[in-house]
């Protein structure tokens, strides 16, 4: 009986080793021995990505109370796509933080613009304290 168990265990271990040897592995020498494949060298298809210089985020304000916030609609999906989201935000401030003045603006050149000099000029002139921009989708 004992002999039968020993033989059975031995066969199980061998079977497990056999299965493991056939499993693809990142260990090249193991894989090479297992499959008989030779090692080859190939060119790397990947292109180096150059990371960009980090720019710190600008300073935050202590509070939004008694400040003007611009809600800027970049018009992704069209001028009506997200406008009412900003209207809802405006309503929320009016109800919950009435000292905050909010104004909704649309970017001049639509959703693909990376800058809006006219809007920036207005933000500076009107001493706007913060901006919410959206809505990307």
């Amino acid at each position: 009986m004992k002999r039968k168990i020993l033989i059975g265990s031995f066969l199980l271990v061998m079977a497990a080793l056999f299965v493991m040897a056939g499993t693809p592995s990142t260990n090249q020498s193991t894989a090479q021995k297992a499959t008989g494949e030779r090692l080859i060298t190939v060119l790397n298809p990947a292109i180096s990505s150059k990371v960009v210089e980090r720019v710190p985020l600008g300073p935050r304000i202590e509070t939004v109370e008694v400040k003007t916030i611009y809600l800027v609609d970049m018009q992704w999906g069209g001028p009506e796509a997200a406008y009412s989201v900003f209207e809802e935000m405006q309503g929320w401030f009016a109800k919950n933080m009435p000292s905050v003045k909010t104004e909704i603006r649309r970017t001049g050149d639509g959703p693909f613009a990376s800058d809006d000099a006219k809007l920036r000029k207005e933000i500076v002139e009107k001493k706007v304290a913060a901006v919410v921009i959206g809505i990307g989708g």
Binding site: P24, N44, S48, V51, R54, P56, L57, D116, I133, G134
Partner: protein, 440 residues
């Protein structure tokens, strides 16, 4: 959006917060590392935002920010007022990714095949591994130096050697290589849009025959080595140069199976009716020039059956084109269709057909503005008073407008085997073609 926020932060010295749909905000870390450089603070709404009623927008604002889990409006206020973290104060060059070595570590073919798939360097069809010998053989197809730049995507430079690697992987012959290189100059236009764009590649000139491209029976199908492999190489170049990987840079919501070979075919110049010029000649090249043109678009629809006398092809083409955006179209037709249109219906040139279509395709203003691409791209121009978009925007919804206001944006390509009067109306739009001989 991140660039706009960055410019306001830098130029106006005030805090911003980016409000995004949850669908795209997942790409913010990648954008920070390789694109914007400034760690913009975001809040995220459920997606979609566009097309939803005001009641849903109200629920979004009253709901939670999907990034922080906090109520949306307090989350916005936090983003504007909470002091900067140490990470947000960082400046200068980050450690970043190490430059890619020219050669990969030696490995078995099995493991390398696995690695290429794991890294998403393939289209998941079998590839030929780019050994040094195979790539060197491919490079014999051009006089260009291996380190010459072919195209650039951000800071990622596609060189002649990289294109040779992709050509080997796709199974190309060296004689295809100049055409592949010319096509790769447009690799940055490889379709990668949430709207699920694709490409169309058309080859003109004597090179079509020299490298055995198909412009006859099954020109657009999987029946020709050169058509198949030149198109496939464009996919590998576009994917790898753009670092387009799932959950990294790739973000087409449906994707497109047209991208397996990018609808790559040759024009059947030999069967063009008299007076009809190849696509390349319409673009200003000589008929003897070898030119590849790469277009971007989404889809095509087929006439399916035989042309009818009572409602001939140009009229049915017009009808089908009513379903396109109006930004541009390419009509691909069998030579039999071109001959019918010219001989029976009197269109002496492709341009005459394009002009007729531009004048006769009409849709309602509601249909035109019902397309999100038109609305997103054209409304800002309409609001600035640019015509005809300003008039179209003010028009009552049922007003009929002619969306193809530029006849030159409607291209015609003739290809196919002369055995059925079939045509496809497509929404692909071509930029100016690229001379292949410049890459010999």
């Amino acid at each position: 959006m991140s660039r706009l926020a960055r410019n306001i932060e830098l130029q106006c010295k005030i805090p911003t917060v980016g409000a995004s749909g949850i669908n795209v905000v997942k790409f913010k870390d990648y954008d920070l590392l390789y694109g914007n450089g400034m760690p913009i603070r975001y809040v995220a709404f459920p997606f979609p935002v566009a097309g939803q009623p005001k009641s849903v927008h109200k629920s979004y604002v009253e709901g939670n920010d999907l990034l922080s889990g906090k109520p949306m409006m307090p989350a916005i206020i936090d983003a504007l007022t909470k002091p900067l973290t140490a990470d947000e104060k960082k400046s200068g060059m980050p450690p970043g990714a190490a430059p890619e070595p020219r050669l990969l570590k030696p490995a078995t073919e099995t493991n390398l095949q696995r690695l290429f798939k794991d890294k998403e360097w393939t289209d998941f069809n079998p590839i030929i591994l780019p050994t040094e010998a195979r790539v060197a053989e491919m490079l014999k197809g051009t006089s260009r130096k291996p380190n010459e730049m072919v195209s650039k995507f951000g800071s990622r430079e596609l060189t002649v050697e990289k294109v040779a690697i992709y050509a080997v992987m796709a199974g190309a012959r060296p004689e295809y290589f100049p055409t592949i290189l010319a096509t790769a100059t447009q690799a940055a236009s490889f379709g990668n849009s949430t709207s699920s764009m694709a490409n169309m590649i058309v080859v003109n000139g004597p090179v079509r025959k020299q490298i055995g491209m198909n412009s006859g029976i099954d020109a657009m199908g999987p029946f020709n080595e050169a058509n198949s492999i030149i198109g496939r190489t464009f996919t590998l170049a576009g994917k790898i140069m753009g670092d387009l990987r799932i959950n990294a840079g790739a973000y087409s919501t449906l994707g497109s199976s047209l991208q397996y070979n990018n609808v790559c075919y040759a024009e059947n110049e030999e069967l063009l009716p008299d007076g009809w010029q190849p696509l390349s000649v319409e673009m200003g090249y000589k008929r003897t020039d070898n030119v590849v043109s790469v277009g971007t678009g989404w889809s095509y629809i087929s006439s399916v059956g035989e042309s009818q006398r009572k409602h001939p092809p140009h009229m049915l083409i017009r009808d089908y084109m009513r379903s396109l955006t109006g930004m541009g179209a390419t009509v691909v037709m069998d030579p039999t269709v071109a001959k019918l249109i010219k001989d029976v219906h009197g269109f002496k040139t492709k341009a005459e057909l394009s002009e007729w279509l531009a004048k006769n395709v009409e849709v309602t203003a509601a249909t035109y503005w019902g397309n999100g691409v038109n609305t997103t791209a054209m409304t800002p121009m309409a609001l600035q008073g640019l015509e005809p978009f300003a008039t179209w925007l003010k028009a009552p919804p049922e007003t009929m407008i002619k969306p193809f206001n530029n006849a030159k944006s409607i291209q015609v390509v003739v290809t196919g085997g002369n055995i059925q009067t079939t045509w496809f109306v497509t929404d692909f739009r071509f930029g100016r073609g690229v001379k292949i001989d410049d890459w010999k």
